[in-house]
Amino acid sequence: MTVSTKIAAGLFGKRVDAFTDRNFKYLLIAPAIFILLLIGIFPLINLVVASFQDITILGEDKSFQGLLNYKRLFSDARMWESLLHTVLFMAVALPIELLLGTVMALLLLEKMWGRQIFIALLIIPTVIAPIVAGATWRLMFDNRFGPINQVLGWFKGEPVNIVWIVNSSYVWAAILATEVWQWTPFMFLILLAGFSNVDRTQVEAAQIDGASNLRIFFKIVIPAIRPVLAIALLIRALDLFRLFDIVWALTRGGPGTMTETISTFTYVKGFEQFDTSYTSAVAIVVVVLLSIAVIFALRRVEIAR
């Protein structure tokens, strides 16, 4: 018994102890829920209220404006394009990361001298700050000081001068390279653990029966790691949806608005143009769309099991 509970017990008799014991589980979880509500619900209410007002950099009209901002949002091509960029980028980056991660995991699955060292070195990109990864690749792709143009020049036999992060034909490739570089190791690591946990006796039995490696992979290994695969894809999809740091370091959404994602768009609207009410509406629409997508995805995952 701690000193304070002893004093409290002395003052109020046995009732204090009985109280703490009965409500102990609520006492433990209360601070966490309080903090989450403080940062989650309270500002969210503020957000909903602001989205029905007309607060811009020019003035604050706090009267009820109905669906003004939502109407504006639905006809805002720039906003839908940024959402489209985000979803398309996800649709391209996720399969590439999955495929490369699988290949790397299979490569390092079996015993090999120095295997642990390879794994330790390969995960380095994933733990680096995304903004540092973005800065790193901005330098890699720099048209004058970067090694990528230099190496391309060796193959081509003449100097290459591609302005990667400004040229509209190449800018998405640069962002994709950065993203794939940083997060393929994440996929690799999770898949490696998934593959290692596959029941070996089943695989060996299939080998004895004369099943081809490809057949074993798709009929035994993939079904066995399905739950792990689902979690990895869900985590990565959610991360790709919030893509900000890498784009910010490489292009800031440019050239023009070509590489804007929904996160950089919201940032520009809210924190550079101070279009408060409009940004509030955008944030709400994003949360609603994402919630629908996540619920849908979770249901698919459950059915897959």
């Binding site: 102990f24 989650g40 690749w137 000081f145 740091d245 996160s263 924190f271 949360v287």
Partner: protein, 290 residues
Amino acid sequence: MTGETRADAVYVPKDWWLRRRTWTYVGRYAAAIVITLLFLFPVYWIFIMAFKTPEEVFASPPIWYPAQIQFKTFAVLFRDGDVGTIGNSLITAGVSTVLAMFFGTIAAYSLARFRTGGENLAIWIISQRMIPPIVIIFPVFLVYVFFGWVDTFQGLILLYTAFNLPYVTWMMRGYIEDIPIELEQSALVDGWSRWQVLLRVVFPMARAGLFATAVFTFIFAWNDFIFALVLTRVEITTYPVQVTSFFGQQQTFWAKIGAMSILGTLPIFFAVALFQRYLVRGISLGAIKG
């Protein structure tokens, strides 16, 4: 039974497929080396900038290694006070990690042992982490402006604590469920209070999980850019924001970016190397226990 097993291979060294196996091994090994070098090269490239002279940094075509290792860039960072941003990162990430760990772990204990709120409450808590940061930071910013909490330690620390709470709660629930409940029960029978059981039985038993979760929580806060970009101005600039301050319209200070990256990244390398055993569990949200 065919003879194609490892044991046979040892006994029949001249067998044709053994030679194939050797070649496969060599091929796999070469591929592993090439892939590892490809993934490490960008890290080398940004880090080596810190040791180059200005002429070497701005050489075109670029040179791949400096003629001489020198530490002038680090000296400049210390002299100009840029290194102070590492200190700000330490304070915000450190304090928020301690807070998130404490409140998250006791909440996790409640979820794991009392099934408080059933599975729904646990799902609700982890779903808080799925919200994109930009959507969290915008309304929080509006509230912080009202309270004058922008560019203050308490503002950023509270936000990091709240952002990491779902992760800590979720992870620690898994780690606590791995601990046999009998020890807690017998401690209660011996007349220990609930708090004593929590602090003297559960926390020590979940030690490894606590440290591993704390390391990843710390890294999330340490590597965060978007919250810090919005909420820091002058006083509490964290190191990721400082890195972007070296981007310029005319010229980008690559040597400084390289040096700051080294200072900000090496501590993470050591932390992760120390807890590599828990890495997979940590990044897969506990889906893989391995």
